[in-house]
């Protein structure tokens, strides 16, 4: 960790995206997490994904709960508003924010304690409500800020740093998200930026509840032998079913892979997702198949990663509530207040 202020000095030759922003424009404050923390790699991936998508940095609202992962929104998108809310309650705060202004991009950042324990209910209900968001869980299986207690995603039989065996069953948030109706579900690994960046980009461009579980080893408390969330363990057991390229609407689709190995999915906003199949049997449009595949591989100790499910025809909460296209937060008296003449009629009906 560091307490040194970030220099504002930029190299003049920094690469710029379509809107003329450099990577620096998507960065935040210097991280105060431990050196080597998986979460910082996810932060870097979020910055990269936003840069590549040429998002206006201030048009993102980044919302988190409490914990190491929930601190990270301070470390990316420094020109965006952030809300480090209440432990386990990011989903409800994000839902409210999204209802108020449907035009912003909502990035929810949470951890395994935040989403699988104290906030398990809010995680579930925000997903079943189809809130238009990118929900990232930085999953390390451990409570870092309180020094190493098991979280609800810790695998049964895994060992803590102090040598204690976890006897509780693990909650698999990806399996839950699939069951709860998320229209975009992915799992990745903080150490695999080439897989993670396009997944985040695709999730941001997805309309509806997009959930990404990112295994993110805790270097301080969960990176030892006996842990199933350590760098070594995840690298050895990672079973990626596909690799993704995100092609925004403006680009021509040029896919130069062998026929049959690439599947192109068109999302709501015209974004194309080109999926290189690594597992010939895996179909990311099949929710039931994805659930079975996941469970079978989990039983063998394998961590399935990639884009596990996507529904290109997805809807979101605003569609369900049939709200006006104008964000609710800009409606004024004229649009909202029925006025005195209507009130007189109401009075008359109450006599």
């Amino acid at each position: 960790m560091t307490y040194i202020a970030k220099p504002k000095f930029h190299h003049p030759g920094l690469q710029k995206n379509e809107l003329g922003f450099t990577h620096r424009d998507y960065e935040g404050k210097i991280s105060t997490l431990c050196a080597g923390c998986g979460h910082d790699s996810i932060t870097a991936s979020i910055i990269e994904a936003c840069f590549e998508l040429s998002i206006e940095p201030h048009r993102v609202a980044k919302i988190s709960g409490i914990g190491c992962s929930s601190k990270t929104p301070d470390y990316f998108l420094g020109n965006s508003h952030g809300f480090n809310s209440v432990h386990g309650r990011m989903p409800s705060v994000l839902t409210g924010a999204n209802l108020a202004n449907r035009d912003l991009i909502y990035l929810g950042v949470s951890g395994d304690g935040d989403s699988a324990s104290i906030g398990f209910g809010q995680f579930a209900h925000s997903i079943r409500r189809a809130v238009n968001m990118t929900y990232i869980v930085e999953n390390n299986g451990v409570y870092g800020l309180t020094k190493g207690q098991f979280s609800a995603t810790a695998d049964r039989g895994s060992k803590s740093k102090k040598g204690v065996m976890n006897t509780d069953n693990a909650i698999d948030l990806v399996a839950m998200a699939l069951q709860l109706g998320a229209s975009f579900v992915a799992r990745s690994f903080s150490g695999d930026k080439t897989q993670l960046v396009p997944l985040i980009a695709a999730a941001i461009r997805h309309k509806g509840a997009a959930f990404i579980d990112v295994i993110s080893p805790c270097v301080a408390f969960n990176n030892h032998a006996g842990s199933t969330k350590s760098f070594d363990y995840v690298r050895e057991h990672n079973d990626a079913v596909n690799r993704l390229d995100v092609i925004t609407g403006r680009d021509p689709i040029t896919v130069d892979y062998a026929p049959g190995t690439v599947q192109v999915v068109e999302q709501h906003d015209g974004t194309h997702l080109a999926l290189r199949k690594l597992d010939a049997d895996y179909d990311p449009h099949d929710r039931l198949g994805a659930m079975t595949f996941l469970q079978k591989h989990a039983a063998k100790g394998q961590i399935v990663t990639g884009l596990l499910y996507v529904d290109p025809e997805s809807e979101d909460l605003h569609t369900h509530l049939d709200t006006v296209d104008t964000p609710l937060n800009v409606l004024d008296e004229k649009a909202l207040c029925p006025g005195s003449a209507v009130l007189d009629k109401i009075n008359a009906s109450l006599r």
Binding site: E56, P57, H58, R59, A61, I63, P73, D74, N79, S80, H81, G82, F83, N84, S85, V86, R89, P91, S92, V93, L94, T95, G96, A97, N98, L99, A100, N101, D103, L104, G121, Q122, A124, H125, R129, L317, L321, D322, T323, V324, D325, L328, N329, V330, L331, D332, E333, A335, L336, C337, P338, G339, S340, V342, L343, D344, I346, N347, L350, R351
Partner: protein, 589 residues
């Protein structure tokens, strides 16, 4: 026993209906209350109901009050005893000289009655059974038949009831005519077989004027519509559910875009109260006007978020329709028992703004005002309703709205202001009133963003655990609360016309205006009347104004029934009696 004279009264008496929940009596009873209003005579009705859908006892009380009293009086002059389960208790509650109306189809032993009341038997079951064959019809029309009999006994104008039935069943001719038929069935039987009218009766007057008849919850919900609320997140809980339902109902009529038909509002039924307040805070943070409706148990669950709203300075409106606590308490009984819990909700040092409406008209006004206050003060505002006001119809002045009124969106720093180079510190007190500026998310590409957090931070929203920085912020929050004192509704004082009577001060908000302390200073005895066990309002006054507790005499009513005028008069009378010290010399001689 001396013969008790039957009570005689015109337009000033209490009728109580004792029914079984789910028997369809509620609509007939409400029709009775409305019919009296149509005579130009004010009523104050109350529904006393169980936490149950079918089978348990329920009562409906109508205070007929030409003088227009809002509160309950106490005592019953006419008991319509339709529930065998509660017979004994119901008979016992009738005033000496009062009247008992009952279904005389089955003979009852004399021991089941009282000698000092007038007993009026109508064979309701026999009349219904000989007229209707369908069991549901028998049940429902029995209620209308007793209404018909009461119409004759109290000398009410049947045309006015017919008119109301006509409005209720407009377009449903069959239902309309069968209801009118049942009404006359009961009325005719009474006219032919009973001495009509009895000693208490309704006489046409002109005392209702342009007043309206509405429930507090519905009025508060309408206040939210007029006040510009666009996001409502709530979790069902008695007695607040009808507030959220009413908001949805009002919005369906008033808040759809004329061209597209789309909704200019979003209502989410949360998975619990935590999610509901979380959604409200998220929406308010993002610049929408948002609220939740709940009751005591919900307040307990929301407490952590309430602290966040206070400390991170995010607006929120909570409409708390209070019921008897603690714990599940008595969910369908009224109390004002969340005053302390709401005033100081959350761990750590907090104080919150509370608004206390007295009737639906104020519920409407304060609900609309709550959104202005929440955005002006950037904090949570509680609208403190209770079951008695929220779930009962009250006669109140018509709702008013000034079309020139603009919403007070508070201190918002816009993109233009940021462009001009205005210094933006999210927690910077630029005006000395403790209220900083805020920006909405997405305002400006490079200026004005900040990180909202529940942790301590400096004036520029940068994380800080520095003691002086923390204290500086906490002191500013105190300044902000002092500012609130001049923004909230002021107490209303009514001075007594005669020296033997009492001056009254009705507190309408917390923080307390300085006139509360001066009123207390100006009087020898001050009685604080409230509906909870511990004198919560009194404690708050003592605590916040540093007043000697001896100066404030608590008048406390907390059995879950609405406080009555008689209770208050007796309690004050008792206290005054204690103060009468007999001079020693007189006692000896």
């Amino acid at each position: 026993m001396p013969e008790q004279k039957p009570i005689r009264s015109v337009n000033d008496f209490v009728v109580r209906f004792a029914n079984v929940n789910g028997s369809g009596s509620a609509s007939a009873n409400e029709l009775f209350a409305r019919a009296i209003l149509r005579h130009g005579v004010p009523v104050s009705p109350r529904n006393i109901f169980p936490s149950n859908i079918q089978g348990l006892p329920t009562w409906y009380e109508v205070r007929v009050t030409e003088a227009g009293h809002l509160g309950a009086r106490g005592g019953v002059d006419l008991m319509v005893a339709m529930n065998p389960q509660t017979w004994d208790k119901d008979i016992a509650s009738i005033e000496p000289g009062g009247y008992l109306f009952y279904d005389s189809t089955k003979p009852m032993p004399a021991s089941k009655f009282r000698a000092d009341i007038t007993v009026i038997g109508v064979p309701l079951t026999a009349i219904t059974n000989s007229t209707y064959t369908d069991p549901r019809q028998r049940q429902l029309f029995k209620n209308i038949i007793y209404l018909g009999a009461l119409c004759a006994l109290l000398e009410m104008d049947p045309k006015l009831i017919e008119q109301l039935i006509g409005e209720q069943y407009k377009g449903k001719e069959k239902l309309l005519s069968s209801n009118v038929h049942a009404l006359h069935l009961g009325r005719d039987w009474a006219l032919q077989n009973l001495k009509c009218p009895i000693g208490i009766r309704v006489k046409k007057a002109d005392k209702v004027g342009d007043r309206i008849f509405i429930e507090g919850n519905s009025a508060a919900a309408l206040g939210a519509v007029y006040g510009g609320a666009t996001v409502c997140a709530w979790y069902p809980i008695t007695p607040s559910s009808s507030l959220a339902d009413a908001f949805a109902g009002h919005c369906r009529k008033l808040r759809h875009d004329g061209e597209t038909g789309k909704a200019k509002y979003a209502i989410v039924q949360g998975e619990d109260e935590l999610a509901s307040i979380g959604i409200v805070i998220g929406a308010s943070w993002n610049g929408a006007r948002a609220f939740t409706a709940t009751s005591g148990p919900g307040i307990s669950l929301m407490t952590e978020f309430i602290g966040l709203s206070y400390f991170a300075e995010v607006p929120a409106v909570i409409m708390n329709v209070q019921r008897a606590g603690p714990s599940t308490g008595m969910p369908t009984r009224t109390q004002q028992c969340d005053i302390i819990a709401c005033a100081y909700a959350s761990h750590g040092d907090t104080k919150h703004v509370l608004l206390f409406p007295e009737d639906p008209a104020e519920a409407f006004e304060f609900a609309a005002a709550a959104f202005d206050l929440a955005e002006r003060l950037q904090t949570v505002i509680f609208l403190m309703l209770d079951l008695d006001i929220g779930m009962n119809h009250r006669l109140c002045r018509p709702l008013k709205w000034d079309d020139a009124r603009q919403y007070d969106r508070g201190k918002i720093m816009t993109a233009e202001m940021l462009e001009e180079g205005r210094d933006f510190g999210r927690y910077l007190d630029v005006d000395g009133d403790g209220i900083p500026y805020r920006t909405y998310p997405g305002t400006h590409p490079t200026k004005g963003s900040f990180f909202t957090r529940g942790t301590s931070r400096d004036r520029y929203a940068r994380y800080s655990e520095e003691g002086s920085v923390y204290a500086d912020n906490m002191q500013r929050l105190v300044r902000k609360f002092e500012t609130a004192q001049d923004l909230v509704p002021r107490p209303l004082q009514a001075n007594a016309a005669k020296p033997t009577k009492f001056d009254r001060l009705r507190i309408r908000a917390f923080p307390f205006h300085s006139s509360v302390a001066s009123f207390i200073a100006d009087h020898d005895f001050v009685y604080v009347v409230e509906q909870n066990r511990d004198g919560q309002l009194r404690s708050l006054i003592v605590n916040e104004n540093g007043i000697d507790p001896v100066r404030l005499v608590p008048i406390l009513h907390y059995d879950g029934t609405p406080i009555t005028a008689r209770f208050i008069a007796n309690a004050i009378g008792d206290h005054q009696d204690h103060l009468k010290v007999t001079p020693l010399r007189k006692a000896v001689s």
